[in-house]
């Protein structure tokens, strides 16, 4: 009985999240997320597999892209708001040098150690619909949502979406 009640609770939360997606977010088909193994700018190894059990915000960007630059302070704000064990925020820079990335992020999002897709091939595999783009990977490693382009993530409608999301396991 407890299991049924719990399942209904999770189902209700899922419906709440997907029923009213905020502008620019689309539901994906829940296929497995592509492999994602990169080094960060601080030379730390990262593998998406290690993030199973929590939602992951996988964000592709480049410093030359205007909307990416405008969005980044809002992502830094999210990074401060969410426990990384609940919603892990991963930035993937597409094919730029350390100097370029540090020159921009150092001032705008100093707390985040970005992953460096140095040759751009991981981005090619993930195929975001342009830059910037954010995929939401669920705790079991499936692609659930895609945010097209940049936005103010701290707006109420996006915060509500994110808060509902992290309630789902």
């Amino acid at each position: 009985m407890k299991k049924i009640v719990f399942s209904l609770f999770i189902l209700t939360l899922s419906l709440q999240v997907s029923a009213a997606l905020p502008p620019g977010l689309i539901k994906l088909d829940g296929r497995d997320a592509p492999a994602l193994k990169l080094k960060s700018m601080d030379e730390e190894n990262y593998d998406l597999k290690q993030s199973k059990g929590r939602w992951v915000f996988v964000h592709f960007w480049a410093a030359w892209c205007g909307p990416c630059r405008r969005e980044m302070p809002k992502i830094q704000a999210l990074y401060s708001k969410f426990d990384q064990q609940t919603l892990e925020i991963i930035l993937i820079n597409t094919a730029e040098s350390d100097d370029t990335v540090f020159g921009f992020l150092g001032a705008v999002a100093p707390d985040i150690d970005p992953l460096m897709d140095r040759d751009g091939l991981v981005t090619e595999v993930w195929q975001p619909r342009g830059l910037p783009a954010t995929f939401f990977v669920d705790p079991s490693g499936k692609l659930q949502y895609l945010a097209l382009g940049g936005r103010d993530w701290t707006k109420a409608e996006y915060m509500q979406f994110l808060n509902n999301l992290v309630k789902q396991k």
């Binding site: 620019g24 597409t94 091939l121 090619e124 619909r129």
Partner: protein
């Protein structure tokens, strides 16, 4: 002397402002369904962008040997708007102008052994060949054609609807030109 220079500068700005506004108007289309903005980039602007990203000079030269037309589109319909570059047409005096597609650039980069990171960056600056633009989705990117001496046109044709069976849309920009370094900027 300083006063004369300042006056000349102010005069220059004063007379160039209407030109900039006029050009922006000519290079923008907007209705309830669609927003399109065209930018014409000069070789100097292109060079600054790619040199700033440490592209080798041969690559910069190859890019600036062509004519850049950058387009931004936003789908304001409640349906899918299809970006399909093969349905777009550059022309001059009713004669089609071919566009340098991705395979052309790939061949150029093979020849000069451009490093993968720079191929990737260049690729992301190009307009996607095909995209089913969702409601409120925008897309932008560069198109390249051979340098033209006179004015040319660009006709953008769009299918709509998820199955492409919706209303067809067409937007035309005349009086486009390959911007030279000496031309007044549109922004």
């Amino acid at each position: 002397m300083n006063t004369i220079l300042r006056f000349a500068l102010l005069l220059g700005i004063f007379f160039s402002l209407p030109t900039i506004a006029e050009e922006k108007k000519k290079l923008t289309y907007e209705d309830k369904d669609l927003y399109v903005r065209v930018f014409l980039r000069s070789p100097e602007q292109i060079t600054a962008f790619y040199q700033g990203r440490e592209f080798k000079q041969q690559a910069v030269d190859q890019i600036t040997d062509t004519c850049n037309v950058t387009v931004i589109i936003k789908n304001k319909t409640l349906d899918v708007l299809w970006l399909e570059l093969d349905n777009w047409q550059f022309s001059q005096n009713q004669q089609p102008i071919h566009r340098y597609k991705r395979d052309y650039w790939a061949k150029q980069w093979d020849e000069i052994q451009l490093k993968q990171a720079h191929r990737s960056t260049f690729g992301w600056t190009l307009m996607p060949e095909v995209r089913d633009l969702r409601t409120d989705e925008g897309v932008g990117g560069s198109l390249y054609i051979p340098k033209q001496s006179g004015k040319f046109s660009l006709t953008l044709n769009f299918n709509t609807g998820s199955n492409k069976q919706g209303k067809k849309r067409s937007v035309n920009f005349n009086h486009l030109f390959c911007r030279k370094n000496t031309d007044v900027e549109s922004e």
